[in-house]
């Protein structure tokens, strides 16, 4: 079969079965989009972990005059207590660095973080207590700090950012799981639709197939146009999914989230490019396998 003849056959095939081909394209697109979202959510989680684990801190909030904590009945923390705490912290081998944050600094940081929010106006200096910010060698060693400093004189409360982050990562994991499961269902739908489409296409071309068999065309020749048509539809679907994914990350995710939440630790265009080969290889394998099996079952000699 000459390439030109093959192309003609494929083109007539696609034209004759256009609505089915379009549905294969669309279903493939949706399934690959969902799969891409799932993978990207995971990439996002990994990126954030890397970013945050370098910065994760344990905050030891100190007592104020108005503090209601049982440990703070004797009033605000004294300079002496602070010095003792600092010395004890620095003595711990798990501790990498300790920063002290005064009430003024805490206020400034809050104002900066929530500059776009009405919350910023409701806070005064002193509302956020002074604290020690402890950076650990290994963020998961949080328990050591808690057991040592919980209830120590002058300590109101200990907060671990890692615990908050972990909850966040659990949510991302669920999002990934959910979208990958949905993607799996859509992939199943795509496979079934491809099989139906091929059967319909073969039925539409039963005359041609009959003649090809009669004149001794090989099975390969008879089946190749169907396989290529399916691959074309699937790759087109993956291409659209890729475009959609790119737009989602580039225009929606990056543009908006960049401003609202953080300006680092976000996935970007290159991460979309990284999942693309997987998507394309996936649909090609899927299309070739599905069409081969369908034709093998449906087009016996």
């Amino acid at each position: 079969m000459s390439p030109r003849f093959l192309l003609q056959e494929i083109w007539t095939g696609i034209r004759r079965n256009l609505s089915m081909t379009v549905s294969v394209v669309l279903v493939t697109m949706v399934s690959m989009y969902l799969l891409g979202l799932g993978l990207l959510a995971q990439t996002q989680a990994d990126t954030m972990k890397g970013y945050w684990y370098d910065r994760v801190q344990v905050s030891i909030y100190l007592c104020t005059d108005t503090s209601l904590r049982p440990n703070c009945t004797s009033g605000a923390v004294t300079e002496e207590q602070k010095e003792t705490l600092l010395a004890q912290l620095n003595a711990l081998p798990e501790v990498q660095q300790v920063f002290y944050e005064s009430e003024e600094e805490a206020y400034d940081r809050f104002q900066e973080q929530f500059r776009n929010s009405p919350l910023a106006g409701n806070i005064e200096i002193g509302d956020i207590p002074q604290s020690f910010r402890v950076q650990l060698e290994d963020p998961s060693k949080f328990g050591v700090v808690v057991s040592q400093f919980e209830g120590a004189p002058g300590v109101a409360d200990i907060q671990d950012q890692e615990r908050v982050l972990n909850r966040f990562f659990t949510v991302i994991n669920y999002i990934t799981l959910f979208s990958v499961l949905l993607a799996a269902l859509m992939v199943l739908a795509a496979v079934l639709l491809m099989a139906t489409t091929i059967r319909q296409a073969a039925f539409a071309r039963r005359r041609e197939i009959g003649i090809m068999r009669l004149v001794g065309a090989s099975n390969f020749t008879i089946r190749l146009p169907f396989v290529i048509e399916t691959v074309i539809a699937a790759v087109l679907g993956a291409l659209l999914a890729f475009g959609l994914l790119f737009a989602t990350v580039h225009y929606i995710f990056n543009r908006f989230l960049n401003r609202v939440v953080l300006d680092q630790a976000l996935i970007g265009d290159s991460d979309v490019l990284a999942v693309a080969p997987l998507m394309f290889a996936g649909v090609v394998v899927l299309a070739v396998l599905t069409s081969t099996v369908t034709l093998w079952r449906y087009l016996r000699v």
Binding site: S2, I211, G216, T221, I222, V301
Partner: protein, 230 residues
């Protein structure tokens, strides 16, 4: 060229055998009619030669090859040595005369050079010169059957199988078609034609194999055919 040895064919839901212990031999270059009433097994014989069906018992040999032992993947190559035409022509309605004939060569991977060379001369040979660009629906029945014959012989097969090729045609046109088959036969192609058209059989005086209920009831070298009254 073609040999049936004790061939029995029973269709999956058939009540009686379509062919019942048939033995016969057709030599290279022969022109043989297979006659008999409807349902006597004529088409089944041709389908066995084409390996569209396989025998339940007995052996079908084509050019020395036992079709029952031919592996699936070798069937296409075997079919390239045969041509076949039918009562209903089986042309592709969207393709022109030229494209219909060329299609048979394209799908077995012939080069476009070969196609450009052989298709016009084959169309000329079957008497369709100048009609290349017509579509099947713009042709008479006889002309459509000529296209089908051109498609069947364009790859120069050893054997041409014709299953009631004149079944849809007027007597005069039918004779033209059979004359064309004779001409093809003279170039060395073995021809088997199933028919129940007695006037053609009697005009040509060729070998006649008569089937009845799946059995060979007569095999005459220069035979005639007198259909039994129903």
């Amino acid at each position: 060229m073609i040999r049936f040895e004790n061939v029995t064919k029973v269709y999956p839901r058939g009540t009686r055998p379509a062919l019942d212990k048939v033995s016969l031999e057709i030599e290279r270059g022969e022109f043989a009619f297979i006659v008999g009433p409807s349902g006597s097994g004529k088409s089944t014989m041709l389908r066995l030669v084409l390996r569209e069906e396989s025998a339940n018992s007995g052996t079908v040999l084509v050019a020395g090859q036992d079709l029952g032992r031919l592996p699936m993947r070798k069937i296409p190559r075997m079919r390239r040595q045969m041509g076949a035409v039918f009562q209903d022509f089986r042309l592709l309605p969207g393709k022109t005369v030229y494209q219909n004939v060329a299609y048979a060569l394209q799908v077995i991977g012939k080069s476009s050079l070969q196609i450009r060379r052989t298709v016009p001369e084959t169309l000329e040979m079957v008497g369709l010169g100048g009609m290349d660009k017509r579509l099947p629906h713009q042709l008479s029945g006889g002309e459509q059957q000529r296209v089908a014959i051109a498609r069947a012989v364009v790859n120069k097969p050893m054997i041409l199988l014709a299953d009631e090729p004149t079944g849809n045609l007027d007597p005069a046109i039918s004779l033209d078609i059979v004359r064309l088959l004779e001409r093809i036969n003279r170039t060395g192609t073995t021809i088997i034609m199933a028919t129940h058209d007695d006037s053609i059989v009697n005009d040509l005086r060729r070998r006649v194999i008569e089937l009845n209920e799946g059995r060979v009831v007569r095999d005459d070298e220069h035979g005639t055919y007198v259909p039994q009254s129903m």
